[in-house]
């Protein structure tokens, strides 16, 4: 009897392993191998013009040392920080506000909730085209409205002072639904009793939000902000279509600079070094999420 059970156990193990293995092998080939390839390439001066230097490891840290003195790279990191901070703050704020607004029991609110999610599921390239139109004075609804109000402005994406903020607004429009969705889910799972008790004790709406609702949804907001922060490092279609990194390099974020080096100039080794640094940043933030995610889970 015991032998039969252990036989069954062994067979079950084999069967389960057979189900897991293909995915693990495929994932390893398409993620681990390229990651190693990326790091190896970043240690070489590999480029289109000089294929002989493919496996040239004479100066392995050469690309990284050059990056530290590359003003365009340092500038791109600063641009990235500005864009990420602005768009994450805006979209978490807008998402939170809308979630609070839409969290009523009215039938109208329930019916329109899911329409707000549209920007998030649209193809990113269509979002970029939508905003290209909004920022093109001759066909834009925004420019028409401003003109009608007597305050004509010139194109926001052609102006170096506003271009980056114009992209942050477009990015916010695309991603506020994410925070809205997550906060709504949290609000709807929230127990009603503390709110009722506080109301009876005379708490006003601001106090209800500040002392009961906000502490409850804070972990969700933190996770949303971190997720969006990580994704903001990948911003590409908006910048590609709206400004192409310009005017000058004022909207060139690190990811975009890596793209330019690797695929416009074909400096693959140098581009790999930039991508490796972005990857390292993403790893660090993911690690932070994993820790915070566990904590907020235990806290409930």
């Amino acid at each position: 009897m015991a032998a039969a059970t252990s036989d069954w156990r062994a067979e079950r193990r084999r069967a389960l392993l057979a189900g897991l293995l293909p995915a693990v092998v495929v994932l390893a080939v398409i993620t681990l191998v390229p990651a190693v390839g990326l790091v190896v390439a970043s240690l070489t001066p590999l480029s289109l013009l000089d294929p002989a230097k493919t496996f040239h490891f004479a100066n392995p840290l050469g690309n990284y040392i050059e990056l530290m003195g590359d003003r365009r790279f340092i500038g791109s990191v600063g641009t990235q920080v500005k864009l990420s901070a602005a768009s994450v703050a805006l979209q978490v704020g807008l998402g939170l506000g809308l979630a609070l607004l839409l969290n009523g029991s009215s039938k109208v609110l329930a019916a329109i909730r899911s329409i707000f999610l549209v920007p998030m599921v649209l193809p990113p390239i269509v979002v970029a085209l939508i905003w290209k139109i909004v920022y093109s004075p001759d066909i834009s609804p925004m420019h028409r409205a401003l003109e009608a109000l007597g305050v004509p402005v010139r194109s926001l994406i052609a102006n170096p002072d506003t271009a980056l903020w114009a992209i942050a607004v477009a990015d916010t429009w695309q991603w506020f639904p994410f925070t809205m969705l997550m906060v709504l889910a949290a609000l709807q799972s929230m127990p009603v009793e503390p709110l009722e008790a506080a109301s009876i004790d005379g708490a006003n709406r601001w106090q209800l939000f500040r002392f009961i609702i906000f502490p409850y949804i804070r972990p969700v907001l933190v996770v949303c902000a971190l997720f969006r922060l990580i994704d903001s490092f990948k911003a590409f279609p908006l910048i590609y279509v709206l400004t192409n990194g310009g005017p000058g390099t004022v909207t060139e974020v690190t990811n975009y600079y890596g793209f330019v080096e690797a695929f416009n100039f074909s400096y693959w080794g140098y581009g790999s070094a930039i991508a490796t640094l972005i990857l390292a940043g993403v790893f660090a933030l993911s690690w932070l999420i994993a820790r915070l995610g566990l904590n907020s889970h235990d806290g409930r």
């Binding site: 897991l20 390439a41 707000f116 009722e196 708490a203 590609y240 991508a275 933030l285």
Partner: protein, 293 residues
Amino acid sequence: MTDDSILLPRVAAYRNGAPRPLRLPAFLAGTGRPTVAILLLLLLMLPFLWLVQLAFRPADAFFSEDFLFTPTLEAFASLLEGSFPKSIANSLIVATLSTGLSLLIGVPAAYVLARWDFHGKRYVALWILVTRMAPPIAFTIPFYLAYRWLGLQDTVAGLVIIYLTFNLAIVVWLMQTFFATIPVALEEAAWIDGAGIWQTFRLVVLPLAAPGLTATAVLCFIFSWNDFFYALILTRTNATTAPVAIVNFLQYEGWEWSKIAAGGTIVVLPVIIFAVLVRRWLVKGLAAGGVKE
């Protein structure tokens, strides 16, 4: 229908003898929130609706100030003449194949992760999370170099493979949460009756997980359909997908706004249709993809 969170504090304040707060007329008090919400909805959707109306504008009224015009399908007809239909076909083929392949490989793995506690399981889960987080440019450079060497540049197969990098992670992550909600008792009954693990999986578990499976498939399809970055870099002319084709209108053929608007509208269509069809599950899927349940 009045809302409790609005009503209760006022009632409480009134009971405590506080001065009566300023009140809106009754017909506004109940409808205030929905009205604000609808106005905001219109404002936020305006940029999108503007794109769609541009697609239907006749060429001579394109830059006109009039809001009224006779809708025309000219722009859509002109799209049919070029290579755009081929790009749409490429997009459909790539998205379908990539979705099918990632379900085939990912669903059994998700089941194993949901049901089997083994050493190192945490690391597999963490690895999958990191794959979802990794920036596309980190994959693109090595894939680009490898494809040059393997002859997979500008091919449908090449795109299908690189789309696995995000789709497989989504499938494993989402399906794991769906499988975890199915009670194990049913499977145990089947095992006692002598059914094998994968037989039980196919006949008992999979039918129960069907809604989750549909939602996951839709998400994979949408993510593949929506991709721009990989397709931009890994294709030239032969395997160009629709998003890249639209951007080509922007760059090589001057500013063909009506074609751009029409192309954008066509690319949005399947996404909207799918999203409406599986609305309920999509919301769950998007939420579960964001944080751990």
